[in-house]
Symmetry: C2
Subunit: 366 residues, 2 copies
Amino acid sequence: MKIIKDTTPAEDGFRMPAEYERHHGCIMIFPERADSWQYGGYAARKAFVQIAEAIAASESVTVCAGAGQYDNARALLPDHIRVVEMSSNDAWARDYAPTFVKNDQGQIRGIDWGFNAWGGLVDGLYFPWDKDNQMARKLCDLLGKDVYDKRDFILEGGSIHVDGEGTCMVTECCLLSKGRNPHLSREEIERVLRQYLNVSKILWLPFGIYNDETNGHIDNICAFTAPGEVVLAWTEDEGDVQYAISRACLAYLEGEADAKGRKLKVHKLPLPKPVTITEEECMGLDACGDEPTRRPGERLAASYVNFYIANDRIVMPGFGDPADREAKEILQGLFPDREVVQIYTRDILIGGGNIHCITQQIPDFY
Amino acid sequence: MKIIKDTTPAEDGFRMPAEYERHHGCIMIFPERADSWQYGGYAARKAFVQIAEAIAASESVTVCAGAGQYDNARALLPDHIRVVEMSSNDAWARDYAPTFVKNDQGQIRGIDWGFNAWGGLVDGLYFPWDKDNQMARKLCDLLGKDVYDKRDFILEGGSIHVDGEGTCMVTECCLLSKGRNPHLSREEIERVLRQYLNVSKILWLPFGIYNDETNGHIDNICAFTAPGEVVLAWTEDEGDVQYAISRACLAYLEGEADAKGRKLKVHKLPLPKPVTITEEECMGLDACGDEPTRRPGERLAASYVNFYIANDRIVMPGFGDPADREAKEILQGLFPDREVVQIYTRDILIGGGNIHCITQQIPDFY
């Protein structure tokens, strides 16, 4: 594995493919952090296994497990899913597994962004985050792929979405947050995204999902489903604080065009009714430092937008909400060639994310 | 990775190839155990890096490093050597990386023997050994290869040598030791070796190298250099306790034939003059439990037989002894198509082994 410091993907002819382009496979991390996941991680592990199996029906899956969980991961996951030992601070493959870029010859390389647990000492969610920050490099080494060193720029994979045709979508609330790259202007941040993702247009949605503790990752509120088309998390409930947020995002998207000059076609994806954590669920979580991780009644950032596009499948969250079915039908309509599989993910939502957050695709390569 | 419990390699048409058959690559483990290796592993790491580089000039090398040493391993090793995170109790890849077997279609599988630190609670060298014992399986998973579960049989890779044509060579002192499989008779042990290595003849040398704390591994005293040919560690010094040991082994070998009925051609490989550990070197080692790992003046099991056969190279130990040169010339004569590279390995010898002990070949596969 070569660590590349002196050139950027754009200079070298590499670009980030869209998630709906063909994959080599998918990376996940086995959860064990007891202040993120209920019952010492027990509940989340069951859900992660279901998701890994759903994805593995369509593409190869590698699950990274800490030394102490290796045997358990191996026992719970089927033979055809590879388990590799790798330490981490938590289980968010989207945010710290490498962002992969690809060239016209079909070669891939990784990008190793800096990671600081969604805000570092300003408003990060845990400390330390050193093992997470090592993962991109370790995974590139494991795959035998070279890696761009961009650790001086804080970015999580969940805070960017690309259409594969020159457009990147982010949120202002996240990328301009004080805990990430406060020394860089919006224009300087844009410049890094252009150089590393090899895009020519950045779409800046103003907000993410209400109370999303990542400072509002794009991947929980809006996602490309095809070039020129997105789904946007939506509610018709005027009493919900999310109402104004989704409308502001829609207004922004309707006023913008993508890198190819296309007006964006916005598909509204309903949100479930507000999901809050119960007292019993809170009791299943260890404390994080001096304070409880969550408090009873806290609203969780539930959204159907947090789905994963596998080669022949869409793997999407379900919340036991009447909107589960409608959301599934909408995605099935948008992805007619992929089977939509819905998995009940409350135990993952409690950890602070969903299916897209815990997966990272590896583009197909030669 | 499938774990195979119900059949044996022999039943499935797999056999252990000789080390001089073509390799896919080599596995090593980065040393860090401060009671095995001087100065917190610092001295050994430098030697391991030299050896990894020497082998990597001829075949691909993967180095397993614990989480705490990953960054350091990555910094010390060149780009073309892969580093993967993997926990272990120490760094003896020969003894607990998988023994690989291969079929006529060129597929390979691993064997996961039981490992108990060279004698378990009877006369093992450290406790615990649980991480070492997990490695064979983890490495097969990493490579995407199925693995035979033979954890109910204690065996280290350094205690067997095969000629690739039906013969296996072991030592009585090791395989019949009380700390390994005391419930099995010599015939029952032979039966396991026949089934798992797919051999028809076992050669039982009586002894290993004097004071070899592995209970006398074969790979420190005698090795196949070709079908029908071996090198045997040798001394002409009648005052050395090793004198009688080497003669007893020679007498045994001269009275035996291999699986093909060939008389063995025995090449004597001189030993260096007795190597003992100094007081200063002992002070560089942490204590192991209540007692010092080694005592000043203790004789180390130095032997040139502990070389590694890479695809186009022989990587062999040197001790700064006048015999270094003669041993190198003998091996060069026996392997005319491979370049013999000699590396000064006193810092590895202090840990209790040498180049063969810290390497494990992966046979070439399709």
